[in-house]
Symmetry: D2
Subunit: 226 residues, 4 copies
């Protein structure tokens, strides 16, 4: 199958990330979701850490609202904050409760260093830079999950993690990825022009994208070691 189209800037950044992108989107954890071989314990451990991750990831998307320069940018960022805070976080609460993890336990999950490293990197990139720096650091999580979801939706050989796969393969999340891709493209063109890929700035943004991709690899690795 071909990879989904999330826009031009994402496509360029993904390519510039080199092998890190494959190390992330085809990590052993991901392949374990695909064929159902991932131990349940790892999955639940991952879900709990991902809940903590989502708290800070939502804060980072809220920072994108603060750093917006147009009404369209604000609306796009607000929509993502809502999807994260009001929906995805609740989804995790639900899955965890169904798996016997009470909400209090979930909320009390101690943050693992690989988790902390990733979210603080994204937030700091956003605070220290402008909207472009922040979006470049946010993109790998959004679009990487989109790409993983789309591939696993087509290739999965087990129903064990079908719910999780369905969430990210589904129209809703794929639409979110397309919207974020569009936000990234338009934010770049607005600030750096149509020829943004030739601005020195773009290389710095690709560095931030690759660094965030590497931190995704560490996150999956952490998922394998409950």
């Amino acid at each position: 199958m071909s990879t989904p189209d999330y826009g031009r800037a994402f496509s360029l950044m993904r390519e510039a990330a080199g092998e890190a992108w494959g190390a992330y989107t085809r990590h052993a954890f991901v392949e374990g979701l695909k064929d159902g071989s991932l131990p349940r314990e790892s999955f639940l451990h991952y879900l709990r850490q991902d809940y903590v991750f989502l708290i800070h990831f939502s804060r980072a998307w809220a920072l994108a609202v603060v750093k917006s320069e147009t009404h369209e940018e604000m609306l796009a960022a607000v929509a993502t904050v809502n999807a994260l805070v009001a929906e995805e976080m609740q989804l995790h609460v639900g899955i965890c409760e169904a798996a016997g993890i009470p909400q209090e336990d979930l909320f009390a999950t101690p943050e693992r260093p690989e988790n902390l490293a990733y979210t603080r990197f994204v937030l700091e990139a956003g605070y220290s830079g402008d909207l472009l720096d922040l979006l470049a650091a946010l993109a790998p999580c959004v679009m990487g999950y989109g790409e993983i979801g789309a591939r696993l939706g087509a290739e999965k050989s087990s129903e064990t993690y079908a719910d999780w796969i369905g969430t990210y393969a589904g129209e809703g999340f794929q639409g979110d990825c397309a919207a974020v891709g569009q936000l990234l493209d338009s934010a770049l063109e607005r600030r750096l022009g149509k020829d943004y890929a030739n601005s020195p700035r773009f290389a710095t943004l690709c560095d931030k994208f690759r660094k965030a991709t590497e931190l995704e690899v560490s996150f999956w690795q952490m998922g394998l070691t409950p």
Copy 2:
């Protein structure tokens, strides 16, 4: 009539603001809305500036999401961002269009210095401080409009500005004020304890509240001079 109850912290900060609070909530602009004597030109000028204000005020509320420390704080701040970006800003677009101001004109409104001073003060207080500093600077706008709306809803002697008054006198907005008051109370107790009013920190927060109140006075004054 008695003033609405928006919580303990607001009540203390309001009192600490001294005469500035009355200068704000009983400004000539407000009295002109009440008896319908405010010139239409002033009102439309104010609405346009208020639209620009809401852009930055929404950004400041998004910053409150970033600076939240609990899930409840995040949810409360996200709800306010939504109410502002998705509803109140659209409301202004609608009123302005009905008054013959096309959306392009509204979006191109040059920001007046009194407007800029206020929003940058709030944003900077939020960036440089924590959630408490930010909420103290945000509160006068929210609760002041709530108090003005409630009073004018009861006392108005003209229907000229009844729509505007109705928006802020209405259950929806009054509920928002109560929710923000509760957020302020709980954020204070969480960080400074039940006895927060005796913390030196509280005096600094009252200063920020009063400064924001004074900037509201300037904003009304600006409204009178299109």
Copy 3:
């Protein structure tokens, strides 16, 4: 006399600021310093407000250190913070004491709205944007005073304010202006390339520069009304 050369980017931004630049650098307050006609009371009032201004201006330059991406950028910004905090602020303390304003009085100066508007605008531009946004908002104060100092050093017809003029006309401050101009040029080239002036980004930066210039005009105006 010709204006001093503070680099290419400053020269372009200065031109883009249009009439605002002249309104700032040839304001009645400035002309009053030149021919000695400025009332002493205005001068002292201005000095006290300028002391409050310098506190926040130093904070903004410290933010430039935080937002630096290279060792050279950090060193340049640190040097400016030092010049401001360790030298210029002490200078004001000295001048004020010599004029009979004790240090406690100086420290207790209530901040005027025109003052607050300016510094919060600069700080917010820096927090919300990257180093370029911050430098564009910082430049008018530094280079404007350099230009004023250089001109008044050559044209002054009275010795009343010769000390003040000498400070900004002197080699030390003129060197600071050249250094900031160089920092601005190199920061732009590093991020946007040699052709930075054709990036859409540059227009936004010119807007921030012009807005800060307008806020300088208000600051002088405030100086005339103790």
Copy 4:
């Protein structure tokens, strides 16, 4: 020997950090510096990473200038930025050059994840919180090195790393630690009163201090694996 006295707040936070403090200040890396058993390769690897660390640590101290509320706080933070940027970073350049690592190599050191995690945590704590949050996250590095330096100065059984030990055992650095301890104490009293240790806020600050301490442990561990 007794541990040096860096003030009351540090002493309380150190105690609240529990075993993490000992894991940090008596880490195998530290003991290897003491008896000279630390492989040279590890030491140079550590020095290179520490150079990258100092860049971001200096940025974080510059943020402390931005977040200061008094002239004294500003002066204390500016002094630390200077000591770091103008002195300690140059010291590393010198030691590395003497060890055959050219400056270009040093500047091009790829940042290790344990390094990134620590500095981004500190910066984000500072951006999202106020000066207290930032100081609590900055303190373990400053005072921990002070405590390590003082102990190794007294206990070292080898001259191999005597220069390094001398730097942190010396009067200069010990004076810096005392000054930072005083800044922490006075900043806490100013905001939370003499009884700051009983404010709920203090517990949150102790959490940040302990988290930074744990990240120091990871940093030493990283040093052992070039």
